[in-house]
């Protein structure tokens, strides 16, 4: 049986859908900036979810307009929480972008795998040890084919 399409159902589906899209984006993206943007989407979905947790359709905004009889109001607590969550999210995203700028300056790339590769190489070089596992010397017997010099990116973003 298909449940009736109430606005509430649509909103819940949107919230969960946004979160899923965001998390999938973080996992599937290759570009670090896209990963950060995906996090923003996921956070928007969760914030919507929080607002929905305290929402009532027959109620008004929780603002005292008169001292007389009060109409039913929506729960203000989740709205306060969402405000806090948004502020925290913006702060973290700004920090993330500023770190991305630094990485771009140092490594001249924001490709997730290349950055990880160079970070591992840097750590191993500082420690003075051979790399545990690398593209040239993986764990098995046969080395993997080398990374192509110019990776073909179907999405057309910078390589």
């Amino acid at each position: 049986m298909i449940p009736a399409l109430t606005p509430e159902l649509i909103l819940y589906a949107t919230a969960i859908g946004l979160t899923t899209i965001g998390l999938a984006g973080v996992v599937l993206s290759v570009h670090l900036f896209r990963m950060v943007l995906s996090l923003v989407i996921a956070e928007a979905g969760v914030n919507l979810m929080l607002v929905l947790a305290g929402y009532r359709w027959d109620a008004v905004a929780p603002i005292l307009t008169s001292l007389g009889e009060q109409p039913a109001m929506v729960d203000p607590v989740p709205q306060a929480m969402v405000l806090t969550a948004i502020v925290i999210g913006v702060g973290v995203q700004a920090l993330a972008v500023s770190i991305l700028i630094r990485i771009r300056q140092r490594y001249a790339t924001l490709d997730r795998w290349e950055v990880a590769e160079r970070m591992d190489a840097d750590i191993a070089a500082t420690a003075g040890t051979p790399r545990d596992v690398s593209q040239e010397a993986p764990l098995g017997e046969r080395p993997l084919p080398p990374i192509p010099a110019k990776r073909v990116d179907p999405s057309g973003s910078e390589s």
Binding site: T19, G22, L23, V26, L32, M35, V36, L39, A42, E43, V46, N47, M49, L50, L52, A53, G54, D75, V77, P78, M81, T84, A85, I88, G91, V92, L95, A96, I99, L100, R102, I103, R106, Y107, V115, A116, R118, M119, D122, I123, T126, A127, G128, T129, P130, D132
Partner: protein, 491 residues
């Protein structure tokens, strides 16, 4: 006096925001602000610990009564970890005076304030805020190393931590939608009726994975070796020693108070076992000191999760003993790694160069492996007896994995000890042999002295831990402390 508890969070926070300004006015004055604030926090908490009647109490912040207001809940367990946060903050204080020192000290104060909040807060959303504060302070401190690898490690940690906070918020939204409250005591009252279902389980899993990022839980711990290898040793010691334990403490509280489903304990048990296996094996393969310590810390946290999964909080004493033991040992080992970072083979002959450090390393290793009469033996013994008393096969599997992991642990720790005591290769000049010395060796010595003192006083310490564990296990006590006027009422 109880009201002063809030100052232990508020003062470091205030200091963190004022410090950069004060440093600009007067460096000589600004340098002492941070340590002074933390010392005062230690004094407040120590005073509460010594003079208090050992009864838990709750402080309603701003005079707004819970469940609508936010409260701080202080039982002996919370006080202990809050005190540890302030004390370790003081021990690992970034004294080095350089250009960034104001920024770094401000971030450290922020980290300590947030850690103290994590230990004391009694409100789920408030915990989330402190959790994020800890994360942001950590990002700043790791990136402060200034190397390219540190930036890359920070962004990778930030993204993983972002996934964690999304999941945590999702869990919070589920819980609030179901119960309409986020106060832990209120949730503990409502949980048996409203959260012992699939929805409660889903919320618990979201929170577990979300908070587990900081607690080095198995699938979300890829940041650990990268961050510990690039951050300064003092920060790594603070993160591995304290912050991971605080995240664990939150999960433990949630498990005890709110989520009683057997499935929840099973998930924790399985993830714990996987953490032990992956962490210890990776540590065994590691060729570098800090990487080895980072992986070993994942393994140890896995053991803690196994202990936590014991039904009805039976593992409380074991969790507490193992957590405190690991806190002391890992902090000490990371301080030793400060001078001994780098490839393990480089360490040949360093015992002759710095005999005290080598002795400390052996002492810490023996205790970590569980050699009697060191405290590590008693902590592990408690867990083994509890696990062996279970009949379910999964717990016995946990026991097997735990014992095997101890063997692996002994193998890699003693391998390092053997390298340290080898004679130095002929072709190397004496000044090439890495030396552990100065402030970091003194700090490690402090932890070593604490370990030996605990060995001598093991009986009273054990009794005290038992009372702390019993108090933390008591759900009714928690509820009655937060809502003294209306015990058992739902509103």
């Amino acid at each position: 006096m109880n009201g002063a508890l809030a100052l232990t969070i508020a003062l470091p926070l205030l200091g963190a925001f004022l410090l950069p300004v004060l440093m600009r006015v007067s460096v000589a004055f600004g340098v002492w602000i941070g340590p002074a604030i933390l010392a005062y926090g230690c004094w407040i908490l120590g005073d509460l610990w010594l003079t208090g009647s050992m009864q838990p109490f709750s402080v309603a912040l701003g005079g707004f009564a819970p469940p609508l207001g936010i409260n701080l809940y202080a039982d002996t367990l919370a006080l202990l970890f809050a005190l540890a946060a302030q004390l370790l903050g003081l021990i690992f204080w970034p004294f080095k005076l350089d250009q960034d020192s104001a920024r770094r000290q401000a971030l450290m104060l922020l980290l300590v304030a947030a850690s103290t909040g994590l230990a004391l807060s009694g409100d789920l959303f408030n915990l989330y805020v402190f959790y994020e504060l800890t994360a942001v302070a950590t990002f700043g401190l790791v990136a402060a190393s200034g190397t390219s690898a540190a930036y890359a490690a920070t962004i990778r940690y930030l993204i993983l931590s972002g996934i964690g906070s999304v999941l945590t918020l999702f869990g919070i939204a589920l819980i609030y939608g179901q119960t309409g409250t986020l106060n832990l005591a209120h949730l503990a009252q409502l949980a048996p009726e409203q959260l012992s279902n699939e929805l409660g389980l889903a919320a618990f899993l979201s929170l577990l994975i979300g908070i587990g990022v900081k607690a080095e839980l198995f699938p979300v711990n890829t940041w650990v070796p990268e961050v510990y290898a690039t951050a300064s040793s003092r920060l790594s010691a603070f993160l591995a020693g304290l912050v991971s334990k605080l995240a664990l403490l939150i999960i433990l509280r949630l498990l005890l108070l709110v989520f009683h489903q057997p499935e929840a304990a099973q998930v924790i048990l399985i993830l714990g076992i996987l953490g032990v296996v992956s962490g210890e094996l990776a540590a065994w393969r590691a060729k570098e000191m800090r990487r080895m310590l980072a992986f070993s810390s994942i393994g140890q946290l896995g053991v803690l999760f196994i202990a936590m999964a014991l039904p009805d909080g039976q593992g409380m004493l074991a969790v507490l003993a193992l957590a405190l033991h690991h806190l002391v040992i890992k902090s000490g080992l990371f301080m030793l790694a400060d001078g001994w970072g780098g490839a393990l083979q480089r360490l040949r002959g360093s015992a002759a160069a710095s005999p005290l450090a080598a002795g400390l390393f052996v002492l810490f290793s023996l205790s970590l492996v569980g050699m009697p009469p060191l405290p590590g033996f008693w902590a592990k013994f408690t867990l083994i007896t509890e696990l062996a008393g279970q009949t379910e096969p999964l717990y016995l599997m946990g026991l097997t994995v735990f014992l095997l992991a101890t063997v692996v642990e002994a193998a890699y720790l003693f391998r390092v000890a053997a390298i340290i005591y080898q004679s130095a290769p002929q072709e190397r000049r004496p000044d090439e042999i890495p030396k552990a010395g100065g402030l970091s060796l003194a700090t490690a010595g402090l932890f070593g002295a604490g370990l030996i003192a605990t060995t001598l006083l093991i009986a009273p310490v054990g009794d005290r831990l038992q009372t702390i564990a019993a108090q933390a296990q008591d759900v009714d006590l928690y509820i009655n402390t937060v809502f003294p006027a209306t015990p058992g009422a739902s509103q």
